[in-house]
């Protein structure tokens, strides 16, 4: 198999690197001989009441060094990311970058392959509840799709009849045991040879609704740039589900804001709704098993738990140009309970680790490695912060105010609120209280740790095997 694959070692590698960075800082602090805490002094505040306050703050040189280190790290990651993207964009080697813009341009120069036509694939596994709204959101677009196909995978409910009622095509998967990716592979195998160079395929989840203008904006991009290989959607959360819903909405808002600040440069071509030029998918299928992992001839790698993340890395590895325009927004379903959120996030986390493990440390995956290391370090930082607060609260019998730390707290509060400002007063209210979101972050951190531990110990993700068998039996009984 290919060199540089990590497999299970990816978890251990990430844990050791993030832990190593923290240990390094710890020993540096210990070697420097930190100043012992001074006793608090009494102050007189507005002349009314006496309070205890402590002017403890790190020495200015430590503050400056920490600020410099954080900004350098962030700028460093961004610069490396940009440099790698530019290098692959300028590549003209069809062997290493068969989807690089120059290669694609050379292959399509001077030919008109017809207008952009859009074929939408909606993989659906028992989605009768949300599918009608999904289809309606497609048919109501100002630029309607040319073809809509519901890929019914082992459905035992009314998914197929509802799709036919809505007037769209239905293709049922045949003997598929590999879930969504397997079902899509079957359909794409038949569909791709029929498509021309300017035809695009959109893959969207059955629990997602497109905002109007998505298709018009995306088609415009594909028409103006024949080297553009993919357009990704920006997702935001549906209404409802109370507090847990608001946590997820805030999270998605911040993610979208971040992509906007990156001017649409893509992290992940979301599985909720993304569009691909036919050439991109054909090249991915042809490159599987050689330059990228997977089975030759198939678009999706069925071994990947997060097939959208995997396909993004595949396209980036082949040099493909992609973007998430601000106009391409979708509303997606949120997890209604902590249990389902736990399962979803564990799958995402496990999938992300397996994906970068499968590709190894390569220029296109560096950004994803950095992200995993960043979360790993965040787990240690937030954990030690909470430990410190815990020790302080239970070792003091009077409340002491630390002006320096209060100031930082206020800064974090401003950041939390500003980044979800667009989400309205509910989003801002949750953000301003700070601690509930810290709790949510802690929840995600525990999921992260569980994902790293699971992959390191080689535990199989159990949800892979349970449902399909049961559903197939049920479907078999109903079908003639």
């Amino acid at each position: 198999m290919r060199k540089g694959r990590f497999n299970r070692a990816v978890g251990i590698f990430i844990a050791l690197t993030a832990g190593g960075a923290a240990a390094l800082l710890w020993f540096a602090v210990a070697a420097g001989g930190p100043a012992l805490s001074e006793s608090p002094s009494h102050g007189f505040f507005f002349g009314f009441w006496s309070i205890l306050y402590n002017t403890d703050a790190p020495a200015p040189r430590i503050i400056l060094a920490a600020i410099a280190m954080a900004l350098l790290l962030a700028a460093g990651v961004a610069a490396v990311d940009r440099r790698i993207a530019n290098r692959s964009r300028r590549s003209s080697d069809p062997l290493t970058g068969p989807l690089a813009p120059r290669v694609v341009m050379a292959a399509t120069r001077g030919e008109y392959a017809g207008p952009v036509r859009v074929t939408v694939l909606i993989p659906a596994h028992n989605e009768e509840a949300s599918l009608p709204l999904t289809i309606a959101s497609l048919l109501e677009q100002s630029r309607r799709p040319d073809r809509v196909i519901v890929v019914a995978d082992n459905c035992s409910d009314a998914t197929v009849s509802l799709a036919l009622e809505a007037g769209v095509e239905v293709i049922e998967s045949v003997d598929n045991t590999q879930k969504k990716a397997g079902a899509l592979n079957q359909v794409l195998k038949e569909l791709l040879p029929e498509l021309g160079d300017n035809d695009v395929v959109m893959v969207m989840d059955a629990d997602t609704r497109l905002d109007d203008g998505f298709l018009a904006a995306a088609v415009d991009r594909f028409a103006n740039d024949r080297a553009l290989m993919a357009v990704g959607g920006l997702f935001y959360g549906e209404e409802g589900h109370g507090l847990i819903g608001q946590f997820q909405r805030n999270e998605y808002l911040r993610y979208s804001r971040e992509i906007g600040r990156r001017r649409g440069r893509v992290f992940v071509l979301t599985g909720t709704a993304s569009m691909f030029r036919s050439r991109a998918l054909r090249t991915v299928a042809a490159s599987r098993g050689s330059s990228i992992p997977g089975t030759p001839g198939y678009v999706y790698d069925t071994a990947a738990l997060t097939e959208d993340n995997e396909l993004t890395i595949a396209l980036k590895s082949l040099g493909g140009l992609m973007i998430s325009p601000a106009q391409c927004t979708v509303v997606t379903e949120l997890m209604p309970s902590w249990r389902t959120l736990w399962a979803q996030r564990l799958r995402w986390q496990r999938g992300a680790l397996e994906n970068i493990g499968a590709y190894g440390i390569t220029p296109p995956t560096l950004r994803y490695w950095a992200q995993q290391l960043g979360i790993g370090y965040g787990v240690i930082a937030l954990g030690s912060y909470l430990l410190l607060i815990f020790l302080m609260v239970f070792a003091l019998d009077t409340w002491i105010w630390f002006p320096f730390w209060l100031g930082l707290g206020a800064l974090f509060m401003v950041e939390r609120v500003a980044t979800v400002w667009k989400g309205g007063w509910r989003a801002r209210l949750l953000a301003v209280t700070l601690f509930p979101e810290l709790f949510f972050d802690m929840f995600l951190n525990v999921v992260y740790l569980k994902g790293v531990a699971d992959i390191s110990l080689g535990r199989t993700a159990s949800w892979k095997h349970v449902t399909p068998v049961r559903i197939r039996e049920a479907t078999g009984a109903e079908r003639p």
């Binding site: 920490a66 954080a70 001077g110 740039d225 410190l388 020790l391 003091l396 401003v414």
Partner: protein
């Protein structure tokens, strides 16, 4: 640390206050302080408008050829 000692020295709710004056606690406090300042710097960077240094350099924005799907389109 025995319970008697905890009573003699200024007592906290669960732990003796002397814990806060120990060497390892000072290291932990500084470790957390540095991390917190680092995250605060990143938070500040997230609030402020993002800078795109590439915009400051004048580049040749004209494309040498059209990238449209129509071969005869203006660039």
């Amino acid at each position: 640390m025995t319970i008697t000692a905890a009573v003699v020295v200024p007592a906290g709710i669960l732990f003796p206050e002397s814990l806060l004056h120990s060497q390892w606690f000072a290291i932990l406090a500084t470790f957390v302080a540095i991390n917190t300042v680092m995250y605060a710097a990143l938070a500040l960077a997230k609030i402020l408008p993002k800078l795109h240094p590439s915009d400051w350099i004048r580049t040749r924005n004209e494309r040498s050829e059209t990238r449209s799907i129509h071969p005869d389109a203006d660039h």
